[in-house]
């Protein structure tokens, strides 16, 4: 063990009973830098103020109890080394006075006391919202339901979730839309959508695609991916839900999510680079030119973007016809467009997905002891295209 060093923890405190609202309090702790921020909090509680409240149990990133924000980053207190947290907060101004490590309760949730949040309304209620259990065909099997092991590989990543709420705390969509179903619950939804034993796959997807606060309310910001201590990558699961809903089940959601995706892919196939006007038009009302009558929602969407377009005209931003009129945008030069089109045809024949969580990075030499521990499927490459 290295020698103990002094650190300052600046903790956001809140005691509902004293009526004074949240406030910051600093604690000096002495710890080996490789010990955790949770160890620091427990030392402060032990030596300075027994009323300092933090939820914890296993101290080994398994129970998921000690979710907090450390220097603004949602994570587990037991998984963050105090020395690293100190260095991180002081990296911009190394010569100045040392800044304290800030510890706050998780975001997007009501605070019960100090670092303890109420996860009921923003986490558990949303988890229940996605029907987090297997919906089978109703006939109980004689013994267990047998599925080929490889069919479960796809959902292994979501099964790793420990319900700590760090992703919910970090979610930037939920920050502005508290009704967003959110990363934890949607990752949980994929756990059942991807399960071959579940029989309500389409119903689940339809529900999550049509909900204005469902899969198309995720802004694709990766905050949940960086916050998750278990590598669940909730955003990746949300993107899988979108692919399953739109491309596999053909669900044309009322949020224009699938339209947007299809329009984007089609435009790149035809033009190589993005025709923004066409993307806007096709996202709201695909095939408007004499083929389909746009729905009222589509008209509303298009009309809603008019003031922005007019302002663009006024400053000169959209002066040229190629920017204003959908479809005028030029193709790639020479035979380049033809090659891009062939890439589309090639990929659309199969569309392999390489999940690094499952495959690992095979080109990197594994450590000798890791090699022994890794399961056989971890060293396999991606499936050959059919």
């Amino acid at each position: 063990m290295a020698e103990a060093q002094s650190y300052t923890l600046k903790v956001r405190r809140f005691k509902p009973e004293d009526g004074r609202g949240p406030y910051w309090q600093e604690f000096e702790v002495d710890l080996d830098p490789t010990l955790s921020v949770l160890d620091g909090l427990l030392q402060a509680k032990d030596r300075e103020d027994g009323s300092l409240s933090v939820r914890c149990s296993c101290r080994a990133a398994i129970c998921g109890s000690c979710g907090v924000k450390i220097n603004g980053q949602s994570t587990l207190a037991c998984l963050t080394q105090i020395g690293e947290a100190h260095e991180h907060v002081n990296r911009r101004d190394r010569d100045g006075d040392a800044k304290p490590i800030t510890v706050e309760p998780m975001g997007n949730m009501p605070v019960v006391k100090d670092l303890v949040t109420d996860m009921e309304s923003t986490h558990w209620e949303k988890i229940r919202r996605v029907t987090p259990w297997l919906l089978d065909d109703g006939d109980p099997p004689e013994r267990e339901r047998i599925v080929p092991p490889e069919s479960m590989v796809d959902i292994t990543q979501t099964i790793a979730c420990i319900q700590c709420g760090a992703c919910v705390s970090a979610c930037l969509s939920m920050e502005v839309d508290p009704d967003f179903i959110g990363p934890a619950a949607l990752a949980k939804a994929y756990r059942f959508v991807g399960d071959p034993r579940d029989v309500e796959t389409r119903e689940r997807l339809y529900d999550l695609a049509q909900d204005p606060h469902g899969i198309y309310d995720c802004t694709h910001c990766f905050a949940c991916v960086d916050a998750c201590p278990k590598g669940v990558a909730p955003m990746d699961q949300i993107m899988r839900l979108r692919r399953r809903a739109g491309d596999d089940e053909g669900i044309r959601d009322r949020n224009n999510g699938h339209n947007h995706e299809l329009a984007f892919v089609k435009i790149i196939e035809k033009k190589g680079t993005l025709d923004e006007s066409l993307l806007l038009q096709e996202s709201y009302a695909p095939g408007i030119k004499g083929k389909l009558i746009p729905k009222p929602a589509a008209i509303k969407g298009l009309v809603g973007s008019l003031p922005t377009a007019v302002r663009g005209l006024r400053t000169g931003k959209m002066r040229s016809l190629s920017k204003l009129i959908p479809g005028v945008h030029p193709k790639l030069p020479g035979d380049a467009q033809g090659h891009v089109k062939r890439i589309h045809e090639h990929a659309e024949e199969h569309g392999d997905e390489l999940n690094l969580y499952i495959t690992g990075e095979e080109d990197v030499e594994p450590e000798p002891d890791e090699e022994k521990l890794s399961p056989p499927e971890a060293s396999e490459g991606p499936k050959e295209p059919e």
Binding site: R243, S283, K323, R342, P382
Partner: protein
């Protein structure tokens, strides 16, 4: 310094001032840019959502085109950086997958080679700090941005996810905007939204969520006394600038905060006039940005 240059789609579409100002700035910094005019859209994460292999192949094509020039590649869009880094990570992780993707490129005589000739793909921000160097940048400044209070706005895809964006090797990439603002003589404004999401990806799917994000961050920056924001991402620029009047309605407050593209901020310090840098094309007025500058052009 010579680089293969991928301008992206939006810098030549709804934000033409970005591509234009980059060309001016590159000239004055003596960075020679070889434009990849046959290259295609990065897919912005949307194509990957549809078909991951398609996105990987399209970006492998762009990398292969850059590798043909024998140069490393520069982009000027956080979203391009994120989408391309994501594909590159998968291509580099697995030789069998890479060979499969390269099959689709063979018809055009292209091949993506992992680490080929030390190949890298970097946003202008990363190039500026890691390869060009802040000290060298300082020597080029003819009009320090003294008096200008600038709020950095990174764009998600150059700050997250850390494991994919070279943060192990370059752990301070999420501080580079601050470093550049200071090197140009400006004052950094710390505010809550600098590394948050502008909301653009859901503008057609949930307008309320999208514009509330943009409006909130603009408001936070104003509350901290920012004169302007600077961003290396043209998609962030669309939501923060082009949609700003709409965002103001959603958050129900006056905004009116100038949002500069990174090359525009650099260009100002290099002595270009705002009009040369296309700042008059912005929706939120940039008129008084120059008035704030107390430094005199050399």
């Amino acid at each position: 310094m010579k680089l293969a240059y991928w301008p992206g789609c939006v810098s030549r579409g709804f934000t033409p001032e970005l591509h234009g100002s980059m060309a001016l700035v590159a000239e004055r910094l003596e960075i020679e840019l070889v434009t990849l005019d046959r290259a295609n859209c990065c897919g912005a994460g949307v194509i990957a959502e549809h078909n991951q292999e398609l996105a990987d192949t399209l970006n492998a094509r762009t990398f292969a085109l850059a590798q043909q020039t024998g140069l490393s590649m520069m982009n000027i869009c956080s979203t391009c950086q994120g989408a391309q880094s994501e594909c590159q990570q998968r291509l580099d992780a697995d030789s069998a997958y890479r060979a499969h993707i390269n099959e689709a490129l063979a018809g055009e005589g292209l091949e993506y080679v992992k680490d080929g000739g030390g190949f890298e793909n970097k946003n202008f921000l990363w190039v500026l700090v890691e390869d060009y160097g802040l000290e060298r940048l300082k020597t080029k400044v003819t009009r320090p941005l003294a008096g200008l209070r600038v709020g950095p706005f990174y764009g998600c895809y150059v700050v997250r996810p850390k494991h994919r964006l070279g943060y192990e090797e370059h752990p301070e990439r999420d501080l580079y905007l601050e470093y550049v603002i200071e090197a140009l003589g400006g004052e950094v404004v710390d505010y809550d939204g600098s590394r948050k999401c502008c909301g653009f990806p859901v503008i057609t799917m949930n307008r309320e969520t999208s514009l509330r994000q943009a409006g909130t961050h603009l408001g936070d920056a104003l509350d901290q006394g920012a004169d302007c924001l600077v961003t290396p991402c043209p998609l962030c620029h669309l939501n923060l600038d082009m949609q700003q009047p709409e965002a103001a309605k959603i958050v129900d407050r006056d905004l009116g905060l100038a949002v500069l593209h990174l090359p525009q901020l650099v260009g100002l310090a290099l002595g270009y006039k705002p009009k040369q840098l296309g700042m008059s094309l912005h929706i939120a007025s940039t008129e008084w940005v120059e008035e704030r500058l107390t430094g005199v052009p050399a």
